[in-house]
Amino acid sequence: MEPLRPVSRRAKLALGTAFFVVFFALWALVTFGGAIDSMFLKDPLYTLVTGYKLFAEFNFIRDVGVTLWRVVGGFVIAALIGVPLGIVMGAYKPVEAFFEPFVSFARYLPASAFIPLLILWAGVGETQKLAVIFLGSVFQIVLMVAVIVGSTRRELVEAAYTLGASGRDIVKRVLLPGAGPQIAEALRLVLGWAWTYVIVAELVGSSSGIGYMIMDSQRLLDTGQMIFGIFCIGVIGLASDLMFKWANQRLYPWAF
């Protein structure tokens, strides 16, 4: 192995898959071998069967759908507000000076700590779930987008000025297109975090969703269901991540 030497596509795929194999093998080893009591950790096969039953008998697909819609809903609202505000902050320094200190402060307010308050304000319905995800995402998006737009190469802006661009042109024709790929990357990252907020939101005061199912399974001591639920989140997260990456490469061929 040499530092920074790239690997081929096939080797990359094989290595990535290999770790999953190792992971499942270890899991099978400790559970089938009896090293860990099945009350605490079910074996892979049992978990898989439980998963099948969840879909077949308990309409788990509905929970997955509910969770998915909450994440996407809260995230989209946060992006619709956060991205434009971040762009304006990155482009215009007085606007940044006005918002930045508060947003930096708000970013550290844990979204989960707002849950009791949000239940008080909005009840235990969908509004409250969306609000948790929105609060958890929006400040992160604003700050990341502002930094990305603000770090546009100075020379590109100067070159545009010498070509007759106006201040508005600079924003529209230099800052925005230049920041596109990085903004998309930032959104991909924040979407990942939104998944953790949604589960927390569903653990408290909820009657549907993956988080609710996990909480409900705890009452029944069904570790198989709990693990399968967590696993589902991982799979959906990975799928959305891949979709985002694929879309970015299509959208910004010049950057990849």
């Binding site: 590109l156 100067e158 070159a159 545009a160 010498t162 661009a165 230099v174 910004y252 010049w254």
Partner: protein, 256 residues
């Protein structure tokens, strides 16, 4: 008074963190006639780039002023096209789109210029797929497409290898010989200055001033074989001596 008049221009940069302010330019005067090709030659750190940036309108003088065609220069304008040392093509635009960026550029001009700088067949390439020389040729075409009154070049070939650099010099010289577009060209390369310019303005060490002006009486069109002629060597010996004194002053200043 010339077409471009630089009148007792000085620029002081405020000290960083309570340090002493830096005088980059001190009472610099320079007149450039229409259709002239002037090289600003000086050791690194002598303020020649600062001078060019002020002419471009990207920086403001502390005292003095710049006049172009009778009007004072205060902000960047498409009248003064610039090619930078660093690569400043917009990475999200193709070669053709880059050339079309300028406010006065037209599809017809872009097509002509692509042919003129030898980039036919690369119109739809993104900058990241081009070599350094091709990127700078595109940048030159982009500046020319705007039909500026004067072309400002800040060591445009400084990052290129020797062979590419020589070819780029011939290309630019050929374009100048055909159009006689007024050029102000900053360089620290003595050979480059003699080969390209009608007049070489030598700058002193910091604070920069025009120390002397040398008229280059080599006939046009110039051929690269001229670089080994006795006349060329004569100019080179003289300019080498002048620059050497200034470079030594700079080194002494940095050591004290």
């Amino acid at each position: 008074m010339g077409f471009l008049a630089i009148e007792s221009l000085s620029r002081v940069f405020p000290g960083v963190r309570g340090g002493a302010p830096t005088q980059a330019l001190d009472k610099t005067d320079l007149a450039v006639e229409d259709n002239d090709f002037i090289c600003l030659l000086g050791p690194s750190g002598c303020g020649k780039s600062t001078l060019l940036r002020i002419v471009a309108g990207l920086d403001s003088p502390s005292t003095g002023r710049v006049m172009l065609d009778g009007a004072p220069v205060t902000t960047p304008s498409p009248d003064r096209g610039m090619v930078f040392q660093s690569y400043t093509l917009f990475p999200w635009l193709t070669v053709r789109q880059n050339i079309l960026f300028g406010s006065r550029s037209t599809a017809q001009k872009a097509k002509e210029l692509v042919a003129r700088v030898g980039l036919r067949g690369f119109e739809n390439h993104y900058p990241k797929t081009l070599s350094g020389g091709m990127q700078q040729r595109t940048a030159l075409a982009r500046a020319l497409a705007n039909d500026p009154k004067i072309l400002l070049l800040d060591e445009p070939f400084g990052a290129l290898d020797n062979q590419t650099r020589a070819l780029m010099q011939e290309l630019l010289l050929g374009i100048w010989e055909a159009d006689r577009k007024t050029v102000l060209f900053v360089t620290h390369d003595i050979d480059e200055a003699i080969f390209m310019a009608n007049r070489v303005a030598v700058m002193s060490a910091r604070p920069g001033r025009i120390k002397s002006e040398v008229k280059i009486d080599l006939p046009h069109p110039r051929h690269y074989t001229m670089k080994t002629s006795p006349e060329f060597s004569g100019y080179k010996a003289r300019l080498t001596e002048e620059i050497r004194i200034e470079a030594m002053k700079t080194v002494q200043m940095e050591q004290s």
